[in-house]
């Protein structure tokens, strides 16, 4: 049966052509049907899982709508908005320079948690000490009064929104030490810290689980209440960025995100709502 179909296609010279045409027609149909009903959100990988969740729920309310959520990083998302490749850019860092011309909407707050292995006896770090650790001035746990052992400092790659926010909030213009291990996602950092008793890293608060221990900074734990009160120091804003005041679909989606339903969804996923 199968071979007879193959023969039928291969035997007639027009067979492949027909098949090709069919494919082109199908693709064309698919495109035209969705045009005008697509919303593209691109940007921060920290915001991406939350944006996907929001998009999923919003698409259930509006079945005709297709929302594309892409990663790529805060900078890429902002650039996509500037160039018109995406209607909404997701950013986990503040806008600077030229980017300030864009329209920003704060969708949520997020803390950056400094994490260590659960067996690590440290519970609290002063911000200044944290800075020294990541600047490479403190290299041994002995400096914190523990058994001497090299510290394994883990950071994110250059350009990552979480890293940029961490540098702004903690490093005070100092550079993160070149001996720090570099991982390219929150998950990878958590994975290493979960298995290495001498590691210290930082990830988005929403992603802290019981494999790792989040430290208090200057005596304040990264709990939802503390982030909301703004007493936890490592707090950043998650932004939606648009070229102008959003209109149409983008406006509808932003309104949904800021509505109690959207905000509840974000809180359930581990972020702090803006209210």
């Amino acid at each position: 049966m199968k071979s007879s179909i193959n023969n039928a296609i291969a035997g007639r010279p027009g067979g492949w052509l027909c098949l090709g045409l069919l494919l082109v027609v199908c693709l064309a149909c698919g495109r035209s049907e969705r045009q005008g009903q697509t919303l593209t959100i691109a940007g921060s990988t920290s915001v991406q899982p939350f944006a996907e969740k929001l998009a999923e729920v919003f698409m259930k309310q509006r079945p005709a709508l297709l929302i594309n959520v892409q990663g790529g990083g805060s900078s890429a998302g902002i650039m996509a908005v500037q160039q018109g490749a995406a209607q909404i850019g997701a950013s986990s860092r503040e806008l600077h320079g030229n980017e300030k011309k864009l329209h920003e909407i704060v969708i949520a707050w997020d803390g950056i948690a400094v994490i260590v292995h659960p067996s690590c006896p440290v519970d609290d770090l002063p911000l200044a000490t944290l800075r020294q650790i990541f600047a490479g001035q403190i290299k041994d746990w002995a400096a914190l009064g523990l058994k001497p052992h090299g510290m394994h400092v883990i950071t994110r790659e250059e350009g990552s929104g979480t890293r940029t926010a961490f540098e702004e909030l903690v490093m005070d213009k100092m550079e993160i030490t070149p001996t720090a291990l570099v991982q390219d996602s929150n998950g990878a950092v958590r994975e290493i810290v979960a298995h290495d008793p001498y590691a210290i890293g930082y990830i988005s608060c929403g992603l802290v689980d019981n494999q790792v221990k989040a430290l208090a900074i200057d005596g304040v734990l990264p709990t939802n209440a503390n982030i909301k009160k703004n007493s936890y120091k490592l707090t950043r804003r998650f932004l939606f960025v648009t070229a102008h005041q959003p209109t149409g679909l983008a406006q509808d989606f932003c309104q949904f995100v800021l509505s109690p339903k959207g905000q509840n969804l974000l809180e359930k996923e581990g972020l702090i709502g803006v209210h």
Partner: protein, 280 residues
């Protein structure tokens, strides 16, 4: 009939050219994107500078060039003896029935996706190094060991082909003169197959330098120049793959420039391999 033949010839030529054309396009593109930043930074600053902070305007890739070289040398030190031993056994000592099973099995190693090697490295090798040797585990050593295994199929199968190309007459002559089989291999087959074996090693080297995913997963990607095999390192390929997603402006150009350096290193290796096989 003749015109149809000519037509097909032309079509095939065109298709062949498109393969070369894509190489030319890639070359032109990465040079156009990357060269300006190298010239702006200065060639020697770019290659011999060790301060890499692209978002703050420092573009020195010495640490990554050295790391790539160290990791590759490590992979060769570990992989080549294993591969040669394996190739000698399969080409000279093993019964044909065994070779028929073992050779395809080894070639199967080449078909395992690199992310799987990386994953195994993270799950099995890294904790072992961390527990027994110290350091964070994600290290030059881990990367070298994983790459050493990844180059095995390349080196083994090309070495076997090189040894099989040595005429049986030579071997028979050597045995007839009273040499043992090992003496024959050591004094006759290996020297006769030398150029092929060197090519195999160079191609293995190219594979090791170009590997990205597995290295990102096990090398830790720190930016410093390693002083011990337990230090974490970042190779040229890892640098591009890690940062490209977020890079814009000069940072992006610097990553293309990293690509240029990598491209030149691999070109040199491949040319060396071609020259050695060409020279009989």
């Amino acid at each position: 009939m003749f015109s149809r033949e000519k037509f097909i010839e032309k079509v095939l030529l065109l298709l062949a050219m498109s393969a070369i054309g894509s190489l030319a396009l890639i070359t032109i593109f990465i040079f156009l994107e990357g060269l300006p930043i190298i010239l702006k930074t200065g060639v020697s600053h770019f290659i011999f500078g060790s301060h890499w902070a692209p978002t703050k305007g420092h573009f020195g890739i010495l640490a990554m060039i050295l790391s790539s070289l160290y990791v590759t040398i490590g992979a060769l030190l570990f992989g080549v003896p294993l591969a040669l031993a394996c190739a000698i056994v399969l080409a000279e000592f093993a019964p044909p029935a065994l070779t028929r099973i073992l050779k395809p099995t080894i070639e199967l190693l080449a078909g395992i996706p690199s992310v799987v090697y990386g994953f195994l490295g993270v799950v099995l090798l890294v904790p072992l190094i961390r527990t027994y040797l110290g350091g964070p585990g994600l290290s030059l050593l881990a990367a070298a060991l994983i790459l050493g295994i990844m180059i095995l199929p390349t080196v083994i199968s090309i070495s076997i082909d090189a040894m099989n190309a040595v005429p049986t007459l030579y071997r028979e002559g050597s045995i007839a003169l009273g040499a043992t089989q090992w003496q024959t291999v050591r004094k006759l087959v290996l020297p006769a197959a030398r150029s092929g074996i060197i090519t195999a090693i160079i191609l293995g080297m190219g594979r090791a330098i170009g590997e990205t995913m597995a290295v990102i997963m096990v090398a830790g990607n720190a930016l410093n120049i390693p002083t011990s095999i337990l230090d974490s390192v970042r190779t040229l390929t890892a640098n591009i793959a890690l940062e490209l997603g977020y890079a814009s402006g000069a940072h992006r150009e610097a990553l293309f420039a990293t690509g240029i350096v990598l491209f030149i290193i691999i070109m040199i290796l491949n040319t060396a391999a071609t020259l050695i096989t060409g020279r009989k």
